[in-house]
Structures are given as structure tokens and as C-alpha cells.
């Protein structure tokens, strides 16, 4: 039934098929780019050069050679490397060169996840084996057996691990790692761009601790970092390591021809400006590709969307026997399930994978031929990363972006230049977020006592040490601060989320098997009693969420709806830090409570019922930026409320585009009569306790976001406002009023 076709044939077909091409707003091609080569530099020892030659590498790409040269001059470097540009050589060559010259040298490799570390290890191992020397490299993670651990500590020239393990398994036990720390020459950080937001802020502090321990043992390692294309790789690298870093971005790798197709689903209701569902269109396009036997990856924005699309697509292979050739991939799956999927993708057993951004990272899944993006992933960098999943080597690649009706998606599909010409976003982090900082000062104090006046990275520690002393965590004597409790601090601090504990999901229909886990904040809206939880295209109903014990008991069901929960938020301003009259940046207290959920039918998306949620409220102290609207532009209180909703909706959707954050990292709430300003106010706040710099960045870049919002509304062809511009159906001169509010906020009225 399936007819195998090449990607090139498929591209031709789509170009000439009216039902497809009429919805294409822009067909962008990126030309193939030839490689830029240079000879292998002399700094590379002869035996290593021979190994390269035996592997078919006679010369290097320009960026690889420069990485080696800069590193050999003792510089710390960050190398910007797109997908499939041979980045591992950028760090393996300098590291192995050093070890040939100085066999006692050690290096630490850090990958953002355990999976990536295991993947890269095999590549490095081959090189090391070919060198026939005495070099040893080991992976050190939670799976390393106790017996092997001693060997890694004493004999590993290269130790491959992840930041979490460094944080809780290595640094707190540094006395067992003396040989590593005394001889550490290089720290390799791969996928640097992932170290942003909360995770990045934590990792920056783990690096402060790492440098502190190195200094104690007398080493001063250099850093070699690689990053995907982002606006500020150098700034990010310097912020994370607090070192002077050299930027290398003269990428010399070749690239196959790439087709970027911007697809806007057809309008089905002219009056309301309603379009066909992007999910259904994604399904239609993906099915076409799968039927032609083109290995395809589909990116969806949320876990729920992944599961919905998966259910649709697996219909195609209903009659298939054995393991499924269309699978899902997302964070909630267990690691073993994910490894299995990665393996089957690489060997081609899997024809299509539906994924959240979990596969954006350098997980090696080989080359895929086509990529379908169900909605804009939220950032330009992310979009390029996802698009990079197709055509990793030299064949033509097809990337289709299917816009949803959200204003951000519509902005992107109507003005693709915004993406194509705009430099990608900057990665932000705030290593000095007080809560994160204090957590790591605790860990650092456990590792080595602090001296009065000692700096932690670039931070003065005096106030924090005093605070911890008052809290009986530290004890001061003779200007030194000693750890004075019997706990193990790293154990209570997770680098990945604000919540220390995850909710585990227990399937009661399968012998109480644990099928996944979720952070407690998400659990409030996704795992409440009666919620439909989707996992591997299977539906489960939550029978009981035991919030105390952090367990959700689910049972497999077969229903035709999914659930969507509401979160009620009460916000209080604690302190104003900066203000210009209409917008203010400061600190707030947020009390959030899940209140009720709706049951929404598959396919038609109609609301078929609802119910209450009984969960305790959660309090969050964080930073926020708030905008005060002008009541004079409204005809009535109801009109004011609509304007407030519209402005809030626009800012919430557009701000992540400028802040390079997940839409879930920044929340909004509105108050008709603010308890603080007495006026209609829109608040945008960081989801992480203490804030991670997003709302502060928003305060700084507000004009750009407001300008984008103005364009979104004024360029929309609808008359009085529609869901994709103002987020609701407008009336009269509603659009004009919203633009007026936005201009007033921008100060350009």
C-alpha cells in the first residue's frame, strides 16, 4: 500500500499540489553550502593525526581547527556549532592532544543529560582505543556500579558526567576525587545553550563550586564549550563560567539544501477568522510523508499535543504487527523507554516520531528526512534546532511549519522574515537568584568551610553566611563558617525544577507499575483527580492524586475526551524596584490554586463537562513586571476588562519570543482594580521562586514586545478583532482601543 518516494520527489509533489500549495505563505530554501577545510594543525600530535586519517579525516573544518589553536594557547572557548558540524572533534582533539603530551592530565566532560553522555562516550572511546595508549575514559552517572566508581575516581583520564551528578555525586565527595581535581586541565561543556533559565542558573552555581574545589586542589582548568546558534553564546559562556572566553563561530561544515515551508491552515469561518485545526493539518501532512516512507519527526508543543497527534498517526499503522513504527517521545517517559526509541530511530525501525522539544537536544537519532512543526516552538533558536533534525547530512531536507491560530504563530507564518532574518534569542539566566544562590552556598559550605570575606564566584557571601548562621545551618568561629547540621545539602536540591519532589504516576491497571513522573506544579493541573493523563497514546484516568505522598494513581481508560484545568491566582505586590509610571518591576507574592477542570472532546474540541479540583494552594515569591492600563480608553467596565484580557494575552504570547523562555516559565494574571495601583493592571511573573531574570528582562525589552503586539493587532486583516490578534472576538473599535493602550504603555501615544 505504501509507495516509497524520495524526499526530492515529495518536495516536487507538494509544490504542485494545489490543496497544499495554496496554503503555503512562504517557501524558503536554504542553499547547500560547501565545506571550508584547513589542514590539521601541527599542534595535533602525530599519533592523533594518524588516528584521524585512519578514520578518513584528512583535514578539519575551519571552526574545528580554530578551536584547537585557541585552546592550545590556554584560552577558554565557546564554539557555535549547528547540528552535524563535527562538534565532538572541537573538544576531543584538544583534550586528547593534551593527554598525549601530559599523561597525568585529566578532563571532565559535562553533557546536559545522562542520555547524551552515554551517546558521546562511544565516539570518544573509539578514538581512545585507536590511540592504543593508556588513556581511560569513563562515564560516571547514577548507573555506574559501586565497584566501577573507585576505578573512575582513581584512573579516569576523562570523566564523562552530567551537571546533576557533579552537583550531588562528585563535588560533595571531592576528597575521593583528589586526582581528578589536582590534575584537571579541561572542562568540556556540551550543548551550552540548554543551560538557561532555572537550570542554567543552578548550573552556573555548580560551576562556582567546581572552580572553588579546583582552586583548593591547585588546578585552574580551561573550558571548552559548544553551543547551538543563539544570540549570545559568548555572554552565556562568560556568565556561566565567570571566565574570559573566546568565541569561535566560523562554521566550516557543509550543509545540504533545505526547504522551509510555512503553511497556514485554510480559513473555515471568514467572519470569525477561524482556521482549520493545526493539529489536524499536521496529522494530514505527516500521514502523507509516512505513507511515502519518508522518515519524519513531528514536533508538538505540549505533552498533551504529542499524545493526541500520536493517537491520530498510529491509526495509520493499526494493522501493523510487532513494535510500533510510529512512536511518541517526551519527558514523562521512563529513561529505558526513551533509550529504546532512540535506538530504533537510528536503525530505521521507526518511521515517524512525535516529540516535544525533548528531542531538540543532541540526542543522536541519526538522520531524519522530514520535519513537521505543529505550531511555533516558542523561540527562533528552538525552531532552527527542530528544523535541524531533518537532513543532518548531505541530502535535501523538508521542514514544514504548520501555524496554529495563535497570534504568535500567525505572526510567524505571515511574516516569516521575523524568523528568517531575525537573530535568534538570547539565553538568559540569573545565577544570583537568591534562593538558588543560597542553596549552592550551602552546598559549597558543606564541601569546604567559607572564610569571612570569601567570594562565591563574583558574589559577596557575607550576608548569606550570616543568614545561614542565624538559621543554625552554619557555625562561625575565628572568621570561618562551618557546616553544622547532619544533613547532606546537595541531596535536597534539584537542578531541574523549582520543586524538589516529583509526583510519580502509578498505573493500577498494570500491577501498580510506575509509568512516569511529573513536577508537582504541573501535577496540579495535569494529574488532579479525574484528569485524563495521556501516556504513549494510552489514556489513563487519575483515580487519586495523593499530594502529600506525591503519588498519582491512574487506571487505563478509553474515552473520547481530554481534560484541561484552570488555575486561580491571587497576586500581591511586595516591593517596587523600578518604575516608569506605566510599567513597574518588582517583587510579588503569588498564591495559586487549581480550581476546576473541563472535559474537552477530541476532534471537535467542544466542552462536554467540568468538575472541581480540591488541592492545596501553593505560594510563590517571585519577581514580576506589571503594566498599568488607562481606564479612560474604555467605554465601560466590561470593555475595560476585555482590553485588559487582550493586552495580557498578547504579552503572554509574544514575550517568550523575546526572552527565549518556555511559555510556561512566565505566567500572567490581571487585576481590574489592582490592590497595589488601584488601576487595571497586567502582571507577568517568573514561575520560579525568586525569579530567574525573565520579568526583569521584559521590563528592559518591553518596547520591542509592545511593538510586536501593536503590529500583531494592526496588521491583522480582521475588522474588530479576532482570536489570533486580540485573542477574542472584538466589536466596534476594539482593535483601535487595544492599540491605543499598547502605545500608551510604550509611551508613543
Amino acid at each position: 500500500m505504501r509507495k516509497t518516494r524520495s524526499v526530492e520527489e515529495m518536495i516536487e509533489t507538494l509544490r504542485h499540489e494545489p490543496s497544499f500549495s495554496k496554503n503555503v505563505t512562504h517557501w524558503h530554501t536554504v542553499d547547500a553550502k560547501p565545506a571550508k577545510y584547513v589542514p590539521i594543525p601541527d599542534i595535533v600530535p602525530q599519533q592523533l593525526a594518524t588516528v584521524l586519517k585512519n578514520r578518513g579525516i584528512e583535514q578539519l573544518y575551519t571552526h574545528q581547527a580554530e578551536a584547537i589553536e585557541q585552546t592550545s594557547r590556554g584560552r577558554s572557548t565557546v564554539i557555535v556549532t549547528p547540528t552535524a558540524s563535527g562538534k565532538t572533534l572541537c573538544y576531543n582533539l584538544p583534550v586528547l592532544s593534551k593527554m598525549i603530551e601530559k599523561p597525568t592530565a585529566r578532563a571532565l566532560y559535562l553533557y546536559p543529560t545522562k542520555a547524551l553522555a552515554q551517546d558521546q562516550n562511544s565516539d570518544l572511546m573509539e578514538m581512545v582505543e585507536a590511540l592504543e595508549g593508556d588513556l581511560r575514559c569513563f562515564t560516571y552517572d547514577g548507573d555506574t556500579s559501586p565497584a566501577a566508581r573507585t576505578k573512575v575516581r582513581d584512573a579516569g583520564n576523562i570523566v564523562i558526567t552530567n551537571p546533576d551528578m557533579l552537583h550531588s555525586g562528585i563535588l560533595p565527595h571531592h576528597t575521593k576525587w583528589i586526582r581528578l581535581f589536582e590534575n584537571l586541565e579541561y572542562i568540556v561543556v556540551d550543548e551550552l545553550h540548554t543551560y538557561r533559565g532555572v537550570f542554567g542558573s543552578h548550573v552556573a552555581n555548580v560551576f562556582r563550586r567546581l572552580k572553588r574545589i579546583c582552586a583548593y586542589y591547585g588546578s585552574n582548568p580551561k573550558w571548552i564549550m559548544t553551543s547551538a546558534t543563539i544570540a549570545n553564546p559568548l555572554e552565556l559562556a562568560e556568565r556561566l563560567t565567570e571566565e574570559e572566553v573566546t568565541l569561535i563561530d566560523n562554521n566550516g561544515a557543509p550543509q545540504g539544501k533545505k526547504h522551509l515551508v510555512f503553511y497556514n491552515p485554510p480559513v473555515v469561518n471568514e467572519a470569525l477568522g477561524i482556521r482549520r485545526s493545526a493539529t489536524l493539518e499536521t496529522k494530514r501532512i505527516a500521514s502523507k510523508l509516512v505513507e511515502a516512507n519518508i522518515q519524519t519527526i513531528v514536533f508538538a508543543r505540549s505533552r498533551v499535543r504529542v499524545e493526541v497527534l500520536l493517537t491520530y498517526l498510529q491509526e495509520l499503522t493499526r494493522r501493523e504487527l510487532g513494535p510500533k513504527s510510529i512512536v511518541g517521545y517526551r519527558g514523562g517517559y521512563l529513561p529505558s523507554e526513551r533509550r529504546e526509541i532512540e535506538r530504533r530511530l537510528r536503525n530505521g525501525e521507526i518511521k515517524a516520531v512525535v516529540s516535544t522539544n525533548a528531542l531538540e537536544l543532541g540526542v543522536d537519532i541519526g538522520q531524519l528526512q522530514a520535519c513537521v512543526l505543529n505550531g511555533y516552538p516558542g523561540t527562533v533558536a528552538s525552531m532552527w534546532q527542530q528544523a535541524g533534525r531533518a537532513g543532518r547530512r548531505h541530502s535535501e531536507a523538508l521542514v514544514i511549519f504548520v501555524a496554529s491560530s495563535s497570534s504568535l504563530d500567525q505572526l510567524v507564518v505571515e511574516q516569516p522574515d521575523m524568523i528568517l532574518e531575525r537573530s535568534p534569542e538570547a539565553a538568559r539566566l540569573d545565577p544570583n537568584n537568591l534562593i538558588i544562590l543560597v542553596d549552592h552556598v550551602k552546598c559549597a559550605a558543606f564541601e569546604l568551610p567559607f572564610q569571612r570575606g570569601e567570594k562565591f564566584g563574583t558574589v559577596d557571601t557575607e550576608d548569606i553566611l550570616e543568614f545561614l548562621t542565624d538559621a543554625h545551618v552554619l557555625h562561625e568561629r575565628a572568621d570561618k563558617y562551618y557546616w553544622m547540621t547532619d544533613s547532606f545539602p546537595a541531596h535536597d536540591i534539584s537542578l531541574r525544577t523549582s520543586d524538589q519532589e516529583n509526583v510519580v504516576i502509578v498505573d493500577q491497571s498494570a500491577k501498580n507499575q510506575v509509568i512516569g513522573e511529573m513536577d508537582t506544579f504541573s501535577a496540579m493541573t495535569l494529574l488532579h483527580d479525574e484528569a485524563i493523563y495521556l501516556h504513549g497514546a494510552e489514556q489513563y484516568q487519575v483515580e487519586k492524586l495523593d499530594f502529600e505522598e506525591k503519588k498519582a494513581y491512574v487506571r487505563r481508560v478509553d474515552v473520547d475526551y481530554y481534560t484541561d484545568a484552570n488555575l486561580a491566582v491571587e497576586l500581591k505586590v511586595l516591593e517596587e524596584n523600578k518604575t516608569d509610571g506605566v510599567k513597574t518591576f518588582g517583587e510579588v507574592s503569588v498564591i495559586a490554586m487549581a480550581t476546576l477542570f473541563k472535559k474537552i472532546k477530541f476532534g471537535t474540541h467542544e466542552n462536554i463537562g467540568s468538575g472541581p479540583i480540591h488541592l492545596p494552594e501553593r505560594e510563590l515569591h517571585t519577581t514580576a513586571t506589571w503594566f498599568t492600563l488607562d481606564e479612560r480608553f474604555a467605554y465601560s467596565e466590561a470593555d475595560m476588562e476585555d482590553q485588559l484580557e487582550a493586552v495580557s494575552d498578547l504579552l503572554r504570547r509574544l514575550a517568550p519570543l523575546y526572552l527565549m523562555c518556555d511559555t510556561l516559565d512566565l505566567f500572567t494574571t490581571i487585576q481590574m482594580k489592582s490592590t497595589h495601583t488601584d488601576k487595571p493592571t497586567v502582571y507577568l511573573y517568573d514561575r520560579y521562586p525568586g525569579g530567574i531574570g525573565l520579568s526583569e528582562a521584559l521590563y528592559k525589552d518591553a518596547d520591542a514586545v509592545l511593538e510586536a503586539a501593536i503590529l500583531t493587532v494592526s496588521d491583522c486583516p480582521c475588522e474588530s478583532g479576532c482570536p489570533r490578534c486580540v485573542g477574542t472576538i472584538g466589536y466596534g473599535d476594539f482593535k483601535r482601543q487595544v492599540v491605543r493602550q499598547l502605545n500608551a504603555l510604550k509611551g508613543t501615544l
Binding site: 537568591l434 548569606i464 543568614f467 547532619d486
Partner: protein
């Protein structure tokens, strides 16, 4: 900043008790001396040493101390000590936590035989800042070649000492070469079948010495932190007493356990035999097996195997035939097939083994089917031989 911190991070409300005024070192040292402590100094730091001598004939937990000294020449390899009794330390430590570089040892102590008495010594770390003095004096006192008798010390106390030594190694002696007699291991070998827990406390209780009024171990760090803050040695007294009792208990337990393995007639014959067997002392083990009054099937099987190795086939066969287990029949089948060439008998033994294997209810299907496959294979080979 502090106000902000207090708002962001809620610390446990600690009642503002009136902390006594911080007393200088001299005042604290005076208090220790009143308790009989010696103040040992080093490079501006200091630590406390507490010593107490016990007559060798004093009885503690049923045994006179002198008996432990005699046990050091035990014939059982586990208890044998290759150094003079003065180099054997019955040692225990108290720590501020369970693991990691931030966990310090604040109390090290040991009981050690001297010419005419048993000496109990404790070293107290008055503050984490004084680790150099603490380890300097401890290491100087114990000498360069020692044997430790501990309870789980091989995997806990000694690695912790190594970790802490790392911080002061440039200023104090190297760690001595050490050997361990870990009584936890012996207790496990001998008592595991009889006890749910083989903690020191449970073992003492099993032998009739229930501790009363003893400080629960997990409270020790709390006492220490409080002591460091208040500089009041009284706060540490319960910990010192608990630790003191632990060390003395090791002396008695060492004697008791070595007695159990040396003495032939007691309830631990079977555990003793298995242990000797695992230690490679086959002759000794066989003697023990032969003397068992109610040996388990496992003991009989191992006894038969040792007899077979010793060439005492007839005795071995008579045990194996009475055993009626799969393993025993397999052994008999092997013997009759290869040595006596009685194929018919070998077939009979194999068939009995198959019968047992089929009747056996097992959780692990895989193991069962592998066993049955092997038996079927054996039977098939024997039947080919019969033709």
C-alpha cells in the same frame, strides 16, 4: 538583603533561648579538665583526650577483659591478629552526618591493652576548626602499624577518617598501615539466621545485655552541634558515655564471637562450618560438618562434597542417597556414570532428579526450565550410552 532572605526562605522558627555568653577557649578547657580531660595542643589548635584504665580482670558483658587478649591467638583465621596485642585498637567513631566531605568525625576512641590494664582513650574535637590537632594527636598516639577491631568500621569509620585526613594531610602524619577485624562480618556469619538485625545493639541484646538509658545514635550529631555552640562539655556527656560503652562492648564481643567459633560444642556449629568452608579451611570445616547434630540439607550436601574431594566416596554416597535432593541425585548420577560406569543406576538417579524438578514449585520459571533442560540432556546422553 537579610530581610529579603527571611521573606524568600522560611527557616525553621528557632526559639530565641538565651544562649550563654560565648566563653573563651580557656574557660572551656577548664571545664574539660574538671571532667578529667587532658588538653592537647598543636599549632594554636587544641583537642581533648579522655583516658580511663580498667583492671584486666574486670568483667564486662560476661567476659573479663583479659580473655579478649587471649583470644588474639585464636586459630580461626578471621580472629587471628598478626601483631602484638598493644597494637590492636577496639575502635569506634562518632560523626556529624552519614556521608560526604562536609561530614566530620568529632569523636574517635579506642580500647587498647597495656601491660597490666585495658586503657580506654577518647579524642574529642572541640570545634571543626581544630581537626589538625585532633588528627595529629590521634595518629601520633596509635603508631604506624595497627589493627582495628570495629563494628562496620571497614566500610564506615576508616573511609571517613581517610576523607577527613585529606584536609589536614600536609600537617599531620601519614595514615598508618591498617588491618581490620570487622565484627559486623562475624556477627552476620554467625547470627544472621537467628536475628532480624545484626546491629551492635541487637547483638548485645541477644546475648542478654539490653542497653537502657542509652543515647540513640542519630541524636549524637545534635548533641555535638549544641555543644559546639554553647561550649559546654556537659552536653556531650551522653555521647561520650554511649561511645565509651560501644568500645568496651567491642572487646567483649570480640572474645564472645571468637569463643563461638573456637568452642566446638555450641549452637553455632553449622554457621561455623559454613564459614570455615568459605574461608577455604576444608579439613577443619569437614570436621565441623561431621560433628553437627541436626545438620541442614545444605550442610549435608557440602559435607558430602568435601568427603568426595577427600576421596571418601562411600561416606559421601551414603549421605547423598539419604539427601534426596536434585543436586544430590545429579552428583550420584555423575559418579555412577563416570567412575563406576553403572549406566542403569545413573539413569535411575537422573530420573529421580527430573521427577523432583517437575514437582518443585518455583518462582523463577527460567531457572527451572534451564535445570530441566540440563537434566533431560543428561538423561538423553545416558540412554545413548546404554545402547
Amino acid at each position: 538583603m537579610k530581610a529579603k532572605l527571611s521573606r524568600l526562605i522560611k527557616t525553621k522558627e528557632t526559639k530565641e533561648t538565651n544562649h550563654p555568653e560565648v566563653t573563651p577557649d580557656e574557660i572551656e578547657q577548664q571545664k574539660w579538665m574538671e571532667k578529667g580531660g587532658e588538653i592537647l595542643t598543636f599549632e594554636g589548635e587544641w583537642c581533648v583526650r579522655l583516658r580511663k584504665a580498667y583492671p584486666l580482670n574486670d568483667i564486662y558483658h560476661d567476659y573479663a577483659f583479659i580473655e579478649a587478649k587471649e583470644a588474639m591467638s585464636s586459630t580461626h583465621p578471621f580472629f587471628t591478629v598478626d601483631l602484638s596485642p598493644e597494637q590492636v585498637l577496639f575502635m569506634d567513631t562518632e560523626t556529624t552526618g552519614l556521608r560526604g566531605s562536609g561530614t566530620s568525625i568529632f569523636l574517635i576512641g579506642f580500647a587498647r591493652f597495656q601491660q597490666d590494664h585495658l586503657e580506654m582513650t577518647q579524642y574529642v574535637l572541640p570545634h571543626p576548626a581544630f581537626e589538625t590537632a585532633f588528627y595529629y594527636h590521634f595518629l601520633n598516639d596509635i603508631g604506624d602499624d595497627v589493627r582495628f577491631v570495629t563494628y562496620n568500621g571497614k566500610s564506615f569509620d576508616w573511609p571517613q577518617i581517610k576523607t577527613r585526613h585529606t584536609f589536614v594531610k600536609t600537617r599531620v602524619k601519614q595514615l598508618p598501615s591498617v588491618g581490620h577485624v570487622d565484627l559486623l562480618h562475624a556477627a552476620r556469619r554467625l547470627l544472621k539466621p537467628k536475628l532480624d538485625s545484626v546491629s551492635l545493639k541487637a547483638v548485645e541484646a541477644y546475648f542478654g545485655h539490653e542497653r537502657t538509658d542509652d543515647l540513640p545514635g542519630f541524636l549524637a550529631p545534635m548533641h555535638y552541634f549544641q555543644y559546639v555552640k554553647e561550649r559546654n562539655p556537659d552536653i556531650l556527656v551522653p555521647v561520650l558515655e554511649h561511645h565509651h560503652a560501644d568500645c568496651l562492648s567491642l572487646v567483649s564481643l570480640y572474645k564472645r564471637l571468637s569463643h563461638l567459633v573456637d568452642e566446638e560444642a555450641n549452637d553455632f556449629g553449622e554457621e561455623r562450618a559454613h564459614w570455615l568452608h568459605d574461608l577455604g579451611q576444608q579439613d577443619h570445616a569437614l570436621k565441623e560438618y561431621n560433628q553437627l547434630k541436626n545438620p541442614s540439607k545444605k550442610a549435608k550436601m557440602r559435607q558430602a562434597m568435601l568427603l568426595k574431594r577427600a576421596g571418601r566416596m562411600e561416606e559421601a554416597i551414603s549421605i547423598l542417597e539419604k539427601l534426596q535432593t536434585i543436586d544430590a541425585y545429579v552428583e550420584l548420577a555423575k559418579y555412577t556414570e563416570h567412575k563406576t560406569k553403572e549406566i542403569e543406576r545413573a539413569i535411575q538417579y537422573t530420573e529421580r532428579a527430573i521427577e523432583l524438578s517437575e514437582r518443585k514449585q518455583t518462582v523463577l520459571k527460567q531457572t527451572a526450565s534451564r535445570e530441566q533442560a540440563e537434566l533431560a540432556h543428561r538423561l538423553a546422553r545416558l540412554e545413548r550410552k546404554r545402547l
